[in-house]
């Protein structure tokens, strides 16, 4: 993962503009990162675990191998909306047609851990979310998970002190929850003001990572704010 300061074009813009040599690997990378919301969508839509896995895998194969991106009728602007629209299209047409061969064991281009995916899905709350709602929500949370992981990794890179600090400060990041600056300060042996400053910086770092993460899924970094707003809708 490149640092935010270095990206020249977003991953999705690389893919969407197609034809470039890097677009395939960029697409693979994106798919490998964002497959779970699709899986959850299919499962919520009524597919069993096997079928959802096959569909997801088949879809990605078609997407990557057959240059589906260039052909598909789609909304190019956002990877998130494109992916769902393309999957629906795929599921209703191609998949029905090719089901027999694919199930027999078509070539797979991505190795996805469907087992863990299914485990994860089993823990999804049984609420009234529609498949689409599930997809959007899972997507939003996935973006945040990935951001959180990168933030943690970034702190860990700074040594065990930083890592410990991260663990302590992390609950303060969102401002939700019960942690207070005072308590955290006592734990870390820092003044309350120093904690505030540290959290402030951590938020800024988080923002950079999050924006870079989201920028990768839209074709123009200017849409980042808008995409964030949509993701917020999804978790509200």
């Amino acid at each position: 993962m490149s640092t935010p300061a270095q990206f020249q074009a977003t991953r999705w813009s690389l893919v969407a503009s197609a034809g470039s040599g890097t677009s395939r690997s960029a697409l693979e990378e994106l798919c490998a990162s964002y497959w779970y919301p699709l899986y959850a969508f299919l499962r919520r839509g009524g597919s069993d675990a096997q079928e959802a896995a096959d569909l997801t895998q088949g879809f990605f194969t078609a997407l990557i191998e057959k240059d589906y991106v260039a052909d598909a009728d789609r909304e190019r602007g956002r990877f998130r909306t494109f992916l769902l629209a393309a999957l629906k299209n795929f599921a209703s047409k191609e998949w029905a047609k090719n089901r027999a061969q694919k199930r027999g064991g078509g070539a797979t281009v991505l190795s996805l851990d469907f087992e863990s995916g299914e485990e994860r899905y089993a823990r999804e709350p049984a609420d009234s979310l529609t498949p689409e709602g599930m997809y959007e929500r899972r997507w939003a949370l996935l973006v945040l998970d990935r951001t959180g992981e990168k933030l943690a990794a970034w702190f860990r890179k700074g040594g065990s002190d930083k890592a410990e600090r991260y663990e302590a400060l992390r609950p303060l990041l969102s401002g939700e929850g019960n942690a207070t600056y005072r308590d955290v300060g006592l734990r870390l042996g820092m003044s309350e003001t120093a904690v505030k400053v540290a959290v402030h910086r951590m938020r800024q770092r988080y923002r950079e990572i999050l924006r870079a993460e989201i920028a990768d899924t839209v074709d123009d970094p200017r849409y980042v704010d808008d995409e964030i707003a949509r993701l917020m809708e999804a978790v509200r």
Binding site: A5, L141, S174, E176, R203, R207, L210, R211, A229
Partner: protein
């Protein structure tokens, strides 16, 4: 499909945190929910030297109040930065440094900073109060003409160039930060404030890069790609976005049209806007003053005429969809001119027809009709030209001015037509009249001009009735003096005071006149030919026009006398002729 936000959806604490974390990611986000701006009253406790009047605005960079500096009794704008900023211990130092730089910027197109500081943990700036509106408000309020945009941009450039020379990059040029005061003067606000909200450049250890600030759509690509390397050219990009938005009403995102495709514009404007919007800053304009001079070149040359493809442009313009206005204006003004033309026509017509007789009458009629048509055509053409000229400028105000001018021109042309016509008619006839019916003044004979019947071959008799042009002899000539050529001196003067006598014309005589008139133009009843006194000779005070003998000598030296007289042609029909005679000197 069900609404994903089904009311049955269970509240998940996970989601609340997710929403809050996403909010952290927003470019304007502080990670905290936005608060309502403290009211002027709440805020005034921190600023005893100011009388806070109202909240002017609120944004990512704090709240702006309109305030009065009580001591100086002047209006100022007080900007109070978000309290959150003070959490950053380095902020105070950076704030002071930036504000000092800003306070040093003195420029007619930059909102000046009077004072800055910190009160009770609140960082504030006291700034020049600009009584006006933001460019955003103007754009939202309706059509901003290209002409206005072209007037605004150079002023922004001027401000930017000045600031850039002083080493200040605005970093957040957007319509909200461009104010226009009541005189239409541009004032750029919030110079360099965007930088205040970002990390200090000395502290990379934790943040790595500057936090991305500013309004995304107006940001240069390098502002979110390599924020640390932003220089003054980022402002030029933002200016390009603002420029584009002013011209087209849209933002240059995605595969955007050139301004001239979106709007009716000179293609050279495209080049300027596109060059300002170059994603690669090395290809972009390097200095704001270059933009300024290019815009000014276009503006100046647009005023100058002569382009090869002018004819084509003209037609293109006529067909252009968004150019309906000039035509409606054209129609409007033409309609407004119509009554003027009709009235002018009636005036000319009645004037001429009253006086025109015989073939002259025909000429006069025709001529007055033509006068009307020509005047109306001139008016229409001038109007069309005005409308097109106005549309080129995209300015309504000037358009109306030119239309008014057109109307004046039309009126003048109608007037000139009328007077020419009148002269033409009478003069034309004078010659005829003089040569055929009047003897000019003959000093040898001692005659002051003779009206005889000698040459009146066209007339079967020497009968003639002399009246003034409008049938009121006495009114027309103030006085008629009849001189006796033999003895000299005034023999008789007939003045307008004698008019009353006319009324006493005896019936029998009146009847004769009526008959004569009736034979002619059918203006029975208009005959106001007075009784005897108007037939003058030196010898006889009265001559009966219906008699063959006698002569009339009229003297009014140096004046032209318009005469109308009935004539009877060979066919024995009565007609009227008009003429003018100039009598010899007294």
């Amino acid at each position: 499909m069900n609404d994903p936000q089904d009311p049955q959806k269970q509240a998940r604490p996970e989601d609340a945190e997710a929403a809050r974390l996403l909010e952290v990611g927003l470019s304007t986000g502080t990670g905290r929910p936005p608060r309502a701006a403290p009211s002027p009253v709440e805020m005034s406790e921190h600023f005893p030297d100011l009388e806070l009047l109202e909240v002017l605005g609120q944004g990512g960079m704090g709240v702006v109040y309109m305030a009065r500096q009580t001591k100086l009794d002047r209006l100022v704008a007080l900007k109070v930065l978000p309290r959150e900023l003070s959490e950053d211990p380095a902020f105070a130092e950076r704030f002071a440094r930036e504000a000092r730089t800003l306070a040093r910027l003195h420029h007619p197109h930059i909102v000046g900073v009077h004072e800055f500081g910190e009160r009770d943990g609140l960082f504030f700036l006291v700034m020049e109060f600009v009584d006006g509106v933001t460019l955003r408000q103007i754009m939202a309020g309706g059509e901003l003409t290209a002409r206005e945009a072209l007037a605004i941009v150079p002023q922004i450039c001027d401000a930017l160039q000045y600031a850039h020379d002083a080493g200040v990059v605005h970093r957040d040029i957007k319509p909200e930060n461009i104010l226009l005061d009541k005189n239409g003067r541009v004032k750029v606000a919030d110079f360099g404030l965007a930088k205040l909200a970002t990390r200090g450049d000395q502290d990379f250890t934790l943040t790595g890069t500057d936090q991305v600030m500013g309004t995304v759509h107006y940001m240069a690509p390098e502002q979110y790609k390599t924020p640390l390397e932003v220089d003054h050219r980022a402002d030029i990009f933002s200016l390009g976005v603002v420029f584009y938005e002013m011209l087209t009403g849209e933002l240059p995102v995605g595969k955007f049209q050139k301004p001239s495709e979106a709007s009716n514009l000179d293609e050279r404007i495209d080049e300027i806007v596109m060059r300002a919007l170059e994603r690669e800053r090395d290809v972009r304009y390097q200095k704001a003053e270059e933009v300024e001079s290019d815009v000014k070149t276009v503006v100046t040359s647009e005023r100058a005429p002569a382009r090869q493809d002018r004819g084509l442009r003209f037609h293109a313009r006529l067909r252009r969809r968004d150019d309906k206005r000039p035509f409606s204006r054209f129609v409007l003004w033409s309609l407004m001119l119509l009554p003027v033309g009709v009235i002018a026509y009636i005036l000319v017509y009645s004037f001429v027809s009253n006086n025109a007789v015989n073939n002259t009458y025909f000429y006069a009629m025709t001529a007055s009709i033509w006068a009307g048509i020509i005047a109306a055509s001139i008016a229409a053409l001038v109007n069309l030209a005005a409308a097109i000229w106005a549309s080129r400028r995209r300015s309504q105000v000037r358009g109306h001015g030119v239309a008014v001018l057109a109307m004046l021109v039309s009126l003048v042309s109608i007037g000139m037509m009328s007077s020419t016509l009148a002269n033409l008619t009478t003069n034309m006839h004078v010659r005829e009249f003089n040569s055929e019916f009047f003897k000019p003044y003959d000093p040898e004979a001692g005659d002051w001009g003779q009206l005889t019947v000698a040459g009146a071959s066209a007339f079967d008799e020497r009968r003639r009735i002399l009246t003034s042009l409008n049938n009121t002899w006495v009114n027309y000539l103030d006085a008629i003096s009849v001189r006796d050529p033999d003895k000299g001196g005034v023999r008789f003067t007939y003045s307008s005071e004698d008019r009353n006598k006319l009324e006493q014309m005896d019936d029998a005589e009146h009847e004769k006149l009526r008959a004569a008139n009736a034979l002619g133009m059918g203006v029975v009843g208009q005959a106001t030919l007075p009784h005897s006194p108007h037939h003058f000779t030196p010898q006889a005070v009265e001559i009966d026009p219906w008699k063959r003998e006698g002569r009339v000598t009229m003297i009014k030296a140096g004046e032209r006398v318009f005469l109308r007289y009935p004539i009877r042609n060979d066919g024995g029909q009565w007609k009227f002729a008009i003429g003018q005679v100039t009598f010899g000197p007294e």
